[in-house]
């Protein structure tokens, strides 16, 4: 993604999530380019794991009109969650662009406790579930609807009795 700004837009919504300096840098460069094309709004959030932040983003998306392009920058967890959130609010793939500024975290969906959690892991690796404490294997299976990777008990196949 981020092959360049979609210049057909009638407006832009730039969403910067988290405190990574690169996130701010990416958002700044988007704004500089977008502002010369169409009205541009910036929203800065701490984390997609925080309910008040999700409400702020929901409010922005509800107020947005068709013609908008939504540009999302942040860590991997926040970007994948924000993309799913934007899709849930009616945004199409053509209207979304994103830039992952670090891969220190990952959204995983635990098949057992059925929660989506922010974990320090990578697809293919293992991690303890923050919800049910099972040791999870993170599968290379991303759900665009949930904005997370599927994870299931790493030792499930080894149980014999």
């Amino acid at each position: 993604m981020n092959a360049g700004l979609d210049l057909a837009a009638a407006s832009y919504l730039v969403v910067a999530i988290g405190s990574d300096p690169l996130t701010a840098e990416v958002a700044q460069s988007w704004i500089a380019e977008a502002e010369s094309v169409a009205p541009t709004t910036l929203v800065v959030l701490d984390s997609m794991a925080a309910q008040p932040d999700r409400e702020v983003l929901a409010d922005m998306l509800v107020r947005a009109r068709v013609g908008v392009r939504v540009l999302i920058a942040g860590g991997r967890y926040d970007v994948l969650q924000a993309l799913a959130f934007a899709r849930e609010h009616g945004t199409l793939a053509y209207e979304l662009d994103s830039r992952v500024t670090h891969e220190r975290d990952l959204p995983v969906y635990c098949a057992h406790c059925r929660g989506t959690h922010r974990v320090a892991a990578t697809p293919g690796g293992e991690v303890a579930c923050p919800g049910c404490r099972r040791q999870l294997e993170v599968h290379e299976h991303h759900s665009a609807v949930l904005g997370s990777y599927l994870a299931s008990a790493a030792q499930a196949r080894e149980l014999t009795s």
Binding site: A8, S11, V66, G67, T91, L92
Partner: protein, 334 residues
């Protein structure tokens, strides 16, 4: 309770409400909506249930020598009648024939319903745009949205004295969430389209049916307002004139037969001439009936049905208008 399987000719479904093959329906009501537009309600002669349909679907009606597609105006849910509104064109075609020959109690041969203009699942709001007799599928969409408790902005552009179904739309617009904008001039229509395209919530899909010039403006204004094509849907009832095209050849994959297609003759016509049956209806690249699978070849797509993605895949074509590039060979999967 005794279950009786009903014999239905050729249908794999036992329940009559799945019947969409060619069959006769009885005209149960004829209403003159305007000077040139007449509405016909059709029902099963045996009093049976009719197949449900997606909003924006059409029915194929045998009208004299012609088979024409007419949009159904209902919401499509559990219909007991199919309603079509037909405009007299004065060209001696099927629509004129229906006006001149059909009265209540007559039987008409129909096929379908078929869905070519369905609502997008998950749309959060709709912008519905009707021009003239193009109101028919738009009314179907509006009724379905109304029934589901959804929201829509409806634009209806008509010539004074030719406002078929305006009252039906006004009734729908009494419901909160459905807003009707009625206009009667081209300038008003363009201004209204510009205004409405600029103010639709994220997640809106737009649907339009009307004359070609209006649909052109609709697409242009949507693009100007930053709408991605995936949100901009339309149904045409007429296509632009095509040039005769270049000569090419077609190979029928199942038999290996190679057929010359000269300039000015369609691939469809040549296939039929050589005993390769291909169903067809509009023969102007609008209805999608003659879509055929293509194994290989350089296709010049000239239809108004396939999406840009479909066209770039190159594995299907509408053989009534689309052709091979000059001197090339198209291998068709027939």
């Amino acid at each position: 309770m005794t279950a009786v399987a009903v014999e239905r000719g050729g249908s794999r479904h036992l329940h009559p409400a799945y019947e969409t093959a060619a069959r006769h329906l009885r005209v149960v009501r004829v209403v003159h909506l305007t000077e040139t537009i007449t509405h016909f309600d059709l029902a099963d002669p045996g009093g049976g249930i009719l197949a449900a349909y997606q909003p924006g679907s059409h029915l194929i009606v045998s009208a004299g020598e012609k088979r024409n597609a007419y949009s159904l105006v209902g919401d499509g849910l559990n219909p007991t009648t199919y309603g079509i509104s037909v405009m007299r064109r004065g060209d001696g075609g099927g629509s004129d024939w229906l006006h001149d020959n059909v009265t209540a109690e007559d039987l008409l041969e129909v096929e379908g319903p078929r869905s070519m203009f369905a609502p997008i699942l998950g749309q959060r709001h709709a912008l519905l745009v009707a021009g003239g007799i193009g109101v028919t599928p738009v009314l179907s969409h509006a009724r379905a949205i109304s029934r589901a408790g959804g929201t829509a902005d409806v634009i209806y552009s008509y010539r004074p004295g030719h406002a078929a179904h305006l009252e039906d739309l006004e009734v729908l617009a009494e419901q909160p969430g459905i807003t009707l904008f009625a206009v009667t001039t081209v300038d008003e229509t363009l201004a209204l389209l510009t205004d409405r395209f600029a103010d639709q919530p994220l997640g809106t899909h737009a649907y339009a049916c009307g004359p070609m010039a209006m649909l052109e403006s609709y697409q242009q204004l949507a693009a100007t307002a930053g709408w991605p094509k995936a949100r901009v849907h339309l149904e045409r009832f007429a296509a632009p004139e095509q040039d005769p095209g270049s000569p090419f050849t077609a190979t029928v994959a199942s038999t290996g037969q190679t057929i010359d297609v000269p300039s000015g003759v369609s691939l469809l016509q040549r296939l039929v001439d050589h005993g390769v049956p291909v169903p067809s209806l509009c023969r102007q690249g609008v209805c999608g009936e003659c879509r055929i699978p293509v194994r290989s070849g350089d296709i010049v797509h000239r239809d108004l049905v396939l999406s840009d993605e479909d066209k770039s895949r190159g594995d299907a074509m509408l053989c009534c208008v689309s052709r091979g590039s000059e001197g090339s060979n198209i291998e068709v999967e027939l």
